[in-house]
Every structure is written in structure tokens, then in C-alpha cells.
Symmetry: C2
Subunit: 160 residues, 2 copies
């Protein structure tokens, strides 16, 4: 499924949270398997995200319908997409109701990444890949690479 | 404080989550007051974010040091920044340990927004405001307004 509400929530251990409606087919898959994958897709794959977001896994096999190529997971059986520039394999460690959604927290047990878009110190080089930013109402946008700026917080924090 | 890990997690009731290290001064303020504000700042305010992120509220009065102008909150006593294009007043409804951080969940009890950057149906017009996107390592970036695309999920979801 396509998810808009998600965030890293701990460094050590590495935990990632995702907010899903329990009405979703995906919720049942995760509740049963106790694991999930998080795939970060480039802006070029926005149509795939709209396709996956607009269809139901209870009705069709999305992998087949949308010709989604999968890479092999290494520590779980979750879907890792060939099109992703980064992906996490997560083991479910918490599942909590908050309002009309559930907050699913997974421990990241394996990471997949496209080496060409990462720097030598293992952070994403955003001049080399454009993320999908979902801004609601079926609208998608991406970053402007030439706006990157570096602001040393230690310098700015002094207020001088 | 400046926060990188946060997400909406429920529509009804409207809940917002933010991940904070319990070592932060801000954590104690929230634990004591049982409320917090979420301020969304434009890219032009990235230097302010670096300033606030690089200093400690236990040592200085950040509002004074960085000349931060506040608007009046309406249902809480949380800080609402004049520079924000949108802001939430939240009442703490949960505080849970996940790894080395705490997950603070607030019910949004009031919303502030800059009318000029919203559409008549009350969503942000991202051609009129540039959000701050923090990409780690003291680097900031924003969106590219001319990349917005609309993809009707109902159409894409059919796979035809």
C-alpha cells in the first residue's frame, strides 16, 4: 500500500513507525506476519504509488498487475521493491490504536539501498535522487536540488 | 526545539505524534505542561530552525535570543510562531518510550494558518509557500514548485 504518515522514532534500536487504518488489507497482512517492509521510491515512480494506493490487495495481485519487480529480502519475507532507492525490513514490535488509525512500530532488521545515490558516509545524496513527496489530494511533488543549504547548528545556536 | 521525526497519526480525532529524546529540555516542558505546539516554518526560516536546534532552552531564552515573535494561542499556552505558515496547539494524550526516544502524541485542539497560502478548500497551496525539509547532517532543502503533478488514484488503480 501507499502510506503518507510515517516516521523514524528511535536510533538505537532503529525503530520506524507507520500509521495505517485497520480497515486496510495491508493491516491484516502485517498483523498476521508480524513484519513489514518500508520502500522509499523516487519521484519517477509516483504513478506506481498512485496505482498501488488506488487498488486493493484483497481484490487484485498488485505485484502482477503493476509489474512490480521485487528484490530478495534478507531477514524477513517482506516486499522489497527493485524501484526503491532505499528500503527497510521491519519486525513488528508494537501495534497501538490511536484514534481511527493504528500505529505500527517495527524494528529495522535489514536495510537495502541503491549505492549510487548514497555518499561514502552512507547518507542519501539528494542531488542524485528525487524523493516522492505526497502533499494530499492525489498531488505529488519533489525537491529542488539547487536549494540545498548547509547551516551549522553550533554556529547558529550561539545567536551571534 | 527543532524536530525532524514527526507525523500525523489519526484523522478523527486529529492526533499528531512527535519523537523526542527524553534528554531534551523540551521533553520536560511537555511532560510538565501536558501540551505542546507544532509550528511549520517556511524555508526562509531555516536559519531560525538551525538556531533553535543548536541551542538549549535550559541555558538561554530562545525567544529573546533569536527575536522570535509569538502569536496568541487560543486553547493552550503553547508557543505559536508568527513565522509559521501553519501551527497546531496539542494536548498531550500519550507519552510512550520507544528505544532511545519518547513518542509524544497530542490531540490537535486548535489550528493556526496563514490564509494567503491555503486554497479555498483549506489545503496548502505549495506554489505559494516553500516548506523546510530537513535532510540530516545540518542540511536543508525545499520543494520544486514546478514538479507538482496530479495523479488520480482511482484511474491509476485500475491498471489500465
Amino acid at each position: 500500500m501507499a502510506v503518507a504518515w510515517h516516521a523514524p522514532i528511535s536510533s538505537n534500536p532503529p525503530l520506524y513507525g507507520v500509521s495505517i487504518s485497520p480497515k486496510r488489507f495491508t493491516y491484516q497482512l502485517i498483523a498476521d506476519s508480524k513484519e513489514f517492509g518500508i520502500n522509499f521510491l523516487p519521484f519517477e515512480a509516483a504513478e506506481l504509488v498512485a496505482s498501488v494506493g488506488g487498488s486493493k490487495g484483497s481484490e487484485i495481485d498488485k505485484f502482477q498487475r503493476f509489474s512490480i519487480v521485487r528484490n530478495k529480502p534478507v531477514r524477513t519475507a517482506v516486499p522489497i521493491l527493485e524501484a526503491a532507492y532505499a528500503a527497510y525490513e521491519c519486525r513488528l514490535v508494537d501495534d497501538k490504536v490511536y484514534g481511527d488509525h493504528r500505529w505500527l512500530v517495527g524494528e529495522i532488521v535489514a536495510v537495502h539501498w541503491l549505492k549510487e545515490v548514497f555518499t561514502p558516509d552512507e547518507v542519501i545524496d539528494w542531488t542524485k535522487v528525487s524523493p516522492i513527496l505526497y502533499i494530499g489530494k492525489d498531488l505529488y511533488i519533489t525537491i529542488s536540488k539547487d536549494t540545498i543549504k548547509s547551516l551549522d547548528r553550533k554556529v547558529y545556536g550561539t545567536g551571534n
